[in-house]
C-alpha cells in the first residue's frame, strides 16, 4: 500500500520544500544556486542527501489538523511544513506540528502487538503476531456480545484515526457507548449551548470571521499557549490591523499580554460578568437592534432577566472594576457586528458551563455577529459522499470536535439488543454527545447495564477522564481491555491486548473533511513505511470487523480504495488530488445574505433563541443564570490548568524535541502569596488536593501573572509510565489532582475546575 507517491525531482522539491511561507517565488538564479553542492567540509543538509519525496497529509499533533507536506529522503521524514494550499495551515505550522518528526521517531514507541501475561496494571506482556492479537480480541468480543449484547462494549476514541473505531466500527458493531473526550471533557457545553440557541453547533473550526474582525473578546482562551496555528495567525493579523482585544482570565496569559483590556476575573464567576455585559448592551441600547428584531426571539425576557445585573452587581462577584466591565461592554458594542466573543474550546469548567456558554452565544447575537462579515460565519461541511455501506446497527452519538454539525434527535439511538447509551443521557443530563466520564460508573456498578469490554483508541485514559482512581477501579472490573496507541501511555499497562498504531505519516487514511467558511477536503497520504510492526487504524478496524462478522461493512480492501470511491462522488481521483496540492476547497455559505429568504438558524422557531423554551420545558433555566461555585477552603487554591504552546494534551511530553523545549510543567503561584508562604521561584513542591491526592514534585514559578486565589499548571505532565523514558516523573499531574468533577446537567460535560489544592513543601 501507499506505493504510488509523488516522485519530485530535486528542483521541484526545492520549490515545494521552501515554498511554505506566504508567496515565495523562486527566481531561476536561486534555483541554480540550489543545485550547487554545499560547501566542502560541512555536514550535508538532509535536503541534499537524496531524492526528496513530498507527501500531502494532515497533522496529527493536535486536534486542529493543519494540512502538511512531509519531506522525506530515502524512507525517512526530515521536515514537516504547512501545506500552503491548506485553509488551516496556509504553509505554516506550530511547534507541535514541527515536532511531528520527533514524535514519529520516538524510540519509546510501541513496536508490536502484545497480549497481557501478568495482572492488569503490572505491564507484563508478550509480543504476539497480529493474527493472534486480533483473533484473541475477536473471540472475547463475540463472547461478550453473546452474553451481554453488543452495547456492553464501550469504545473510546481520540486523535485523527478515531473515526475507524469510535464511529465506524462502533456503529457497525452496534454499541451506542462510543465516546470521545473532545465532547464531554471539552466542547459539549459550547456545542449544546449553540444547538439550543442557534440550532447548530459551533463546530470543530470556530467560525470567527477574522479577516474583518474589529473587536475580539476571549474568556479563558489562551491563544499562543493554546497554539492552534490558524488562530495564532488570524489573531496576530487582526490585532496588527488594529482590532481591539479584551481578555478575561484569572491569569495574565500570553494573549493577555497582547490585550487592550485584561480582566483578571475571580475564577468561576464568568457568567456574572457576561450577564453584566448583556445588561450594559441592553440598558444602554448598544446592541444590534435591527438584527435582534429580525433574527432573535425572547429579547424582552432577556432584558427583564438582566435588568438588575448591573456592572456594580457583577463587580462584587467577579472582583473586577465595575467601570472596566462597563467600558469593555461599550468597546465590544462600538465595534459591532465585527465584534465577537470567541466561543473557546475546552469549556468544561464548573458544571454549569452550558449556561455560561449560552450567555456567550447570546452576547454574540446581541452584537449581531452571526452571519455577518467580520463576525461569525456559518460554516458548511464539504460535499462528498460516504463510502457506501449497509445501514449501521446503531446511530452515532460520539460527537467530538471532528463531528459534523447535526441536530440533536428526540430519541436516543438504541443498540441491536434494545439498549440506549449507558451514560445517563436524558436522566443525569439533558442532551449532547456521549459523556465519556459517565461510562466509567457502569463498568463498576453494572448500572444501568454492564459494560464488560473497553476498546481505547488513542485516548489517554488516565490523563483525560477525571478521577483516574475510579477509572482504574473500572479497568479492574472489565472482561476485556483493548488499547490501541502509539506510545506506552499509563493505561497501556492495564490492557489485555495492545495494538500498536502507525502514525499519520506512516499510513494512508480517510479524507479529512472540514466544515469551514470554505468547506474543504484534505488528502492523508503515506510518506514512509510504518515503524516496526505497527498498523493503521483502518486496517485494525477492518481486520477485527472481518473476524466478528461485520464483513459487509468492510467490502473495501485498502484505505486508498475507500478514498478513491469517495472521491469519485465529486468527480475527483487520488491522482488528481495528489497533483493539485492535496486539498479540495469548495464554496461555502458564510453570511446571512447567502441564505436569501431561508433562515440559517435551525432552531424550532427558526430564530436565535435568546430565551430557550426547550430548557424551560426540561426544567432548566431558560435564560443564563449566575450560580456561585464552591470556593477554595482556607489554605487551598483553585487548580487551574491549560496548555503550554509546545504540548498537546498528554500526548507530546515524551516527544524528544518537544520535551527539550518544555521538559516539565511548573506551578504558577502569585508572587505575594509565595512570599507569605516562604516559597521562592524554582522551589520544588508537592501539590495536594482536597481528597489528599498528591502530585509532584513540581517547580514553582513565582509570578505576578496570576491571581492570589488560584494556581495554574500546564496539562499532561507528572507522568507515571516508566516506558515513557523522557516524560516519566517530570512535573505534576493536573489529571491526577482532578479527582472530582461536577456534571453539567444540560450537556453532560464534566466541570473540572472545581478541585482545590494546597502546596506541600518538599521535605
Amino acid at each position: 500500500m501507499g506505493k504510488v507517491q509523488l516522485q519530485i525531482s530535486r528542483r521541484t522539491f526545492l520549490k515545494s520544500a521552501f515554498a511554505g511561507g506566504a508567496g515565495v517565488a523562486l527566481a531561476a538564479g536561486q534555483l541554480q544556486q540550489a543545485a550547487a553542492a554545499p560547501a566542502a567540509g560541512t555536514t550535508t543538509p538532509w535536503y541534499y542527501r537524496g531524492q526528496i519525496k513530498s507527501t500531502y497529509s494532515v497533522c496529527d499533533m493536535c486536534p486542529w489538523r493543519c494540512g502538511i507536506i512531509a519531506q522525506s529522503v530515502e524512507g525517512r521524514v526530515f521536515k514537516i511544513d504547512g501545506n500552503p494550499a491548506d485553509p488551516k495551515s496556509r504553509g505554516m505550522l506550530c511547534a507541535r506540528g514541527q515536532g511531528g518528526v520527533s514524535f514519529m521517531y520516538d524510540p519509546d514507541r510501541l513496536r508490536s502487538p502484545m497480549l497481557r501475561t501478568g495482572e492488569r496494571g503490572e505491564g507484563k506482556f508478550q509480543e504476539v503476531t497480529w493474527e493472534e492479537a486480533l483473533d484473541h480480541t475477536a473471540e472475547k468480543l463475540l463472547a461478550i456480545k453473546e452474553q451481554y449484547g453488543p452495547e456492553s462494549v464501550a469504545i473510546f476514541g481520540h486523535t485523527s484515526g478515531e473515526f475507524w473505531f469510535a464511529d465506524y466500527f462502533a456503529q457497525a458493531w452496534g454499541t451506542p457507548n462510543a465516546a470521545k473526550p473532545s465532547s464531554s471533557l471539552c466542547t459539549s457545553p459550547r456545542e449544546e449551548a449553540s444547538n439550543l440557541t442557534f440550532g447548530f453547533p459551533v463546530g470543530g473550526h470556530e467560525p470567527v470571521d477574522w479577516a474583518g474582525l474589529r473587536c475580539l473578546t476571549l474568556i479563558g482562551s489562551h491563544i499562543g499557549e493554546d497554539s492552534r496555528n490558524t488562530v495564532m495567525q488570524d489573531f496576530a493579523n487582526a490585532r496588527a490591523r488594529g482590532a481591539t482585544v479584551i481578555v478575561v482570565d484569572p491569569r495574565f496569559s500570553s494573549v493577555a499580554a497582547k490585550a487592550d483590556y485584561w480582566l483578571p476575573i475571580k475564577p468561576g464567576t464568568d457568567t456574572a460578568l457576561l450577564l453584566a455585559w448583556i445588561n450594559v448592551l441592553i440598558t444602554e441600547h448598544r446592541y444590534d437592534a435591527d438584527y435582534i428584531a429580525q433574527w432573535a426571539q425572547g429579547f424582552e425576557e432577556l432584558a427583564a432577566h438582566v435588568a438588575d445585573m448591573t456592572p456594580e452587581w457583577a463587580a462584587a462577584i467577579t472582583e473586577l472594576d465595575a467601570e472596566l466591565i462597563r467600558t469593555t461592554a461599550r468597546v465590544m458594542a462600538d465595534n459591532l457586528p465585527q465584534s465577537v466573543i470567541m466561543p473557546g474550546r475546552h469549556v468544561t469548567w464548573y458544571g454549569n458551563d452550558t449556561q455560561r456558554m449560552r450567555a456567550v452565544h447570546i452576547i454574540n447575537a446581541l452584537l449581531g455577529a452571526y452571519g455577518r462579515e467580520g463576525g461569525i460565519y456559518f460554516n458548511k461541511s464539504p460535499y462528498i459522499e460516504a463510502y457506501p455501506h449497509p445501514p449501521f446497527a446503531v446511530a452515532g452519538s460520539a460527537g467530538g470536535c471532528s463531528a459534523e454539525p447535526g441536530a440533536e434527535s428526540a430519541e436516543l439511538p438504541v443498540g441491536p439488543s434494545g439498549k440506549a447509551r449507558a451514560d445517563g443521557a436524558r436522566t443525569k443530563f439533558l442532551r449532547g454527545a456521549t459523556a465519556m466520564q459517565e461510562l466509567i460508573e457502569p463498568m463498576i456498578t453494572g448500572e444501568p447495564y454492564p459494560i464488560k469490554a473497553l476498546i481505547v483508541y488513542g485516548t489517554n485514559l488516565l490523563n483525560t477522564v477525571p478521577n483516574p482512581a475510579r477509572t482504574l477501579e473500572a479497568l479492574k472490573k472489565l472482561d476485556l481491555v483493548v488499547v490501541i496507541d502509539v506510545l506506552p501511555m499509563e493505561h497501556v499497562a492495564w490492557a489485555d491486548v495492545v495494538l500498536p498504531e502507525a502514525t499519520i505519516l506512516e499510513r494512508f487514511d480517510d479524507l479529512w473533511t472540514v466544515a469551514h467558511k470554505t468547506p474543504y477536503i484534505a488528502l492523508r497520504d503515506q510518506a514512509v513505511e510504518p515503524y516496526a510492526d505497527t498498523k493503521p487504524a483502518w486496517w485494525m478496524a477492518r481486520e477485527l470487523g472481518l473476524r466478528v462478522g461485520l464483513e459487509k461493512f468492510f467490502k473495501w480492501e485498502t484505505a486508498e480504495e475507500f478514498v478513491e470511491t469517495r472521491l469519485k462522488t465529486i468527480g475527483y481521483s487520488l491522482e488528481k488530488l495528489r497533483s493539485e496540492g492535496g486539498v479540495i476547497v469548495q464554496k461555502g455559505k458564510p453570511y446571512l445574505d447567502d441564505f436569501k429568504s431561508n433562515s440559517p438558524f435551525l432552531t424550532k422557531s427558526g430564530k436565535i433563541e435568546l430565551y430557550s423554551e426547550e430548557l424551560a420545558l426540561a426544567g432548566h433555566d431558560p435564560l443564563p443564570v449566575y450560580t456561585p461555585v464552591e470556593e477554595p477552603p482556607q489554605g487551598y487554591f483553585r487548580l487551574l490548568y491549560g496548555r503550554h504552546p509546545v504540548h498537546t494534551f498528554a500526548k507530546t511530553q515524551n516527544t524528544p524535541l518537544l520535551h527539550q523545549l518544555n521538559p516539565e510543567n511548573d506551578l504558577w503561584l502569585n508572587a505575594g502569596v509565595a512570599a507569605s508562604l516562604g516559597i521562592e521561584d524554582g522551589d520544588r513542591v508537592y501539590v495536594e488536593n482536597q481528597d489528599g491526592v498528591r502530585s509532584g514534585p513540581i517547580k514553582v514559578k513565582v509570578t505576578q501573572r496570576i491571581r492570589p486565589d488560584a494556581v495554574f499548571m500546564s496539562h499532561g505532565f507528572g507522568r507515571n509510565a516508566p516506558q515513557l523514558t523522557l516524560a516519566n516523573g517530570r512535573g505534576a499531574s493536573d489529571a491526577a489532582l482532578i479527582s472530582r468533577y461536577t456534571l453539567d446537567p444540560i450537556s453532560g460535560g464534566a466541570g473540572m475546575r472545581i478541585n482545590f489544592v494546597r502546596i506541600v513543601k518538599e521535605a
Binding site: 543538509p45 505554516m92 495564532m232 500570553s254
Partner: protein, 254 residues
Amino acid sequence: MAIHAFLLDISRCIGCEACVAACATGNELPAGMQYIHLIEQTRGEFPNLSGSFKNHRCYHCTDAACVKVCPTGALYKEDGMTRLNREVCIGCAYCTDACPFDVPRIVDGRSSKCDACASATAAGGKPWCVQTCPSDALRYGERQEILAEAHRRVEALKTRYPKARVYGETEAGGLGVIMVLPDDPEVLDLPANPDVPLLVKTWQQVVQPAALSLTALSVAVTGVAAVIARRNHMQELKQLHAQQTKAAQEESQE
C-alpha cells in the same frame, strides 16, 4: 548577493515557539542544541502588568563582535548574515564573551548559533523559522525592504504603543535582525548600545597585530644582528688570544 535581514516583530510574537522547533528540525540540530530561545518577560505588579517575549537569537550585527574576535574565521559575514562554519571552530568561546547579546554557546566543544539557514537560503528557501512563524512576526528579505516594513509596522503601532520603535537599523553597525519593539530596548532586555566596545577593537586592531609584528620584527633583528655580533665577538676573542699569546711570548722571552 544583496544584503539581507530578518524582521522580528516583538509586538506580534506570542511566544508559541514554532520558530524554535522549525529551526531544530530543519537544521537537524542535535538534542540539546537550540538557536532560538523564547524568554517570557513580565513587567509591573498584579494586576497592572505588561508582558512580552524575548525572541533570543543571533542578531547578525553588521559590525559583529563575534566575527571580530573569532581567531579561525569560523564566524564570518555573508549577505549581511553572520555565518558559522562549525567545522573550523576551535571552541575558544571568544564569541560567547564578545557578543553584546550573549548569544553564541559552546556545544560539544564548538560554537553554536544561528547561521541564518545558510544552506537553505542558498537553495532558494527562507530560513525555517521565518517560513513557519504563524504570527508573521518573522520575515526575511533584502535589508532595505525589511527596514521599510519595520518602519511601516512601527507607524501602525504608535497608537497602541507610543514608544514603539525600530531597533537594529544602526545599532552595532546595523543588525541583520531588524526589530519592531513596542517599548524601549532596555525595558525589553536588549542593550541600548550593542556596539563593539573600544577595548575589543583595540585588542583586535592594535594589540594582536602589534604583538605578531613586533615578535616577528624582534626575531628578524636578532637574527641579522647575531651574524654580525658573533663575528665581532670572534674577532674580539682572536685579538684577546693574540694579545695573550704575545704577552706569553714576551713573558717567556724575559
